[in-house]
Symmetry: C2
Subunit: 348 residues, 2 copies
């Protein structure tokens, strides 16, 4: 189950209302992040059904169905009437899949991640799905951290051994830098990459306990007793981490080193695309003189020239240009907010 | 006589081979620099002839004739076969105008300057032209400096009194910053704005003395004895300042305070267009958040968003985007050189 409902305002101006970030050709070779996610999902052991067809499902928002279908044809779509964060999206998928296959076991994967070592991911997922099958567990893939990153959520375990099941002792959201450094030095903390493993039944049971409004709402939608949009609009917009994972008993994790990175903002692009000798990550026609650490992206034939600047992000996409300090790349959201406030919808 | 032969690579990407900087709508209200220059020239006392028609002449390069004619219809054009710097351009104009009006008196004006106080310019030109008429003088308008600017040429006089004729004691090209500060503090130095006043006959006589190849070449062209292009291509490419003004005897200047600025690079745009409360100079659709001292120009409907940066220049024009530190705005030339070297002519 691939979650592809986000809009990705932090990747504006490439991401727009009509073209969310998972459909952008940001992966190496110009592949979309969603396309890469589907390709990776198809090779997870157990994903092929008895007939050999892949059982990959994408959950996406109604506004993105057409673009998503065009980008990854032939994949089954579950449509959210509107975005309501991951707890509702996962609940909807679990309820719909359980209705046709009560024993369904799910690997729930984000659409907007970069995985450098795909076989290692497949192995970790296979190991985790075996734990789900064996004891109806609920778990996650825990990424062995490669840097002290304050922007991520962390999982604490007693001992992190790659590929070996560990109990999650604690979820720790976005620590400060010093704490993140302590976490990484301890060897007992893993990045929470938002990849969840559980049976559909277990997910629905956990939601019934910890987020009953969501459990009841998605059951009603699947039963067809009322307008899906009316019900879904009332559901609390809360993440699956907060709603379930942080509260469930005996959550497990599979520590994994898979070359993972979140592709959440332009500052992450160098991790995905690499950098040249001067430390610049360039996609599209560009000239960079006397500067390093820049991220320069043009998605058409517009040439971008950057002179004498370090650590800036410059993106030209469609009818907009973004110029921002690389370490402030999260603040692109403020531009989107400002354009929304000003009613400049042509740029959204 | 308006000199409009330059290409203005420092204003790339707005200036291109086919659209030199004097045709860009950089003046307030979207007027082109050349359009503003012609408008100012028409009101100089003495420019109207007996019938009331303006005697304004533009010297431009053959490659720019069509665009120039379209931008300022109805103005007489003198065509240089190719750019050969200002000594040849002024020589060509003097020779052509002397052929039809041996007593012609010329005010030679650059196309790419900004003048905030246009009546003051007209008064200074009238005063200078009267000196030319009275004693066949050769002179220039000397701008009372408003800052210690190392990028300009200076004129030294014994005493600078606004509107009063002074003899130029010395030409001083681009001083270092400390010297420029000393110049300005002394009150005896003026900016050389490249505005020359003399009769056509005097100009040709000075060229015959100090740059005889140019004098002979333009005489041959006007006599029609050989291909203008062949002759012109052989002329030395030298500035009128170096060839004539620095060598002529008894050059005069009219000290003037006219709100003058050279529009030579993007860093000059704030002087021409002003800045908003945050110190940003913005032309075209833009959002600037948390930053000041920026120059942001978009010449179509492309929106430019700048976040968290100070003192950068961002220009989107046609199929190119420029991002450069404001204090390095001269280095745009290096981009043009790089594009030329790489054969990327679509961007030139």
């Amino acid at each position: 189950v691939i979650l592809a409902g986000g809009s990705g305002t932090r990747l504006w101006p490439a991401s727009r209302r009509a073209r969310p970030k998972q459909l952008l050709p940001l992966a190496p070779g110009g592949e979309s992040l969603l396309g890469a996610a589907v390709r990776r999902a198809r090779v997870v052991p157990g994903v092929a059904d008895a007939g050999g067809a892949a059982r990959v499902v994408i959950v996406t928002a109604a506004a993105q169905v057409a673009a998503t279908r065009a980008a990854v044809p032939g994949v089954h779509l579950i449509t959210e009437p509107m975005g309501r964060n991951t707890a509702a999206a996962i609940g909807l998928a679990a309820a719909q899949l359980a209705a046709t296959d009560p024993g369904a076991v799910l690997a729930i994967l984000p659409a907007d991640q970069h995985i450098a070592d795909e076989p290692a991911l497949a192995a970790a997922l296979a190991r985790g799905l075996a734990v789900v099958e064996a004891r109806d567990g609920i778990g996650t893939i825990g990424i062995a951290p490669t840097r002290a990153e304050p922007g991520f959520g962390y999982l604490e375990v007693a001992r992190a051994e790659l590929g070996e099941v560990a109990d999650v002792l604690r979820f720790a959201e976005k620590p400060d830098r010093a704490t993140a450094e302590r976490y990484v030095a301890s060897g007992r903390f893993l990045w929470n990459a938002g990849m969840f493993l559980a049976s559909a039944r277990r997910i629905l049971a956990e939601l019934a306990t910890h987020a009953p409004a969501i459990a009841a709402g998605v059951a009603e939608i699947v039963a067809g007793r009322a307008s899906a949009a009316d019900i879904y609009a009332q559901l609390p917009a809360i993440s699956f981490d907060h709603a379930v994972m942080e509260r469930a008993a005996q959550v497990f994790t599979i520590p994994a080193a898979i070359g993972w990175d979140d592709v959440g903002s332009w500052s992450a692009l160098p991790a995905v695309r690499g950098a040249d000798a001067a430390g610049n990550t360039i996609a599209g026609p560009a000239v960079v003189l006397r500067g390093g650490g820049n991220v320069v992206v043009s998605d058409d034939d517009t040439l971008i020239a950057v002179v004498g600047l370090d650590d800036v992000v410059v993106v030209k996409s469609g009818n907009a240009v973004l110029v921002i300090r690389r370490d402030a790349a999260q603040e692109v959201r403020d531009v989107v907010d400002e354009l929304t406030r000003a009613g400049l919808t042509d740029y959204l």
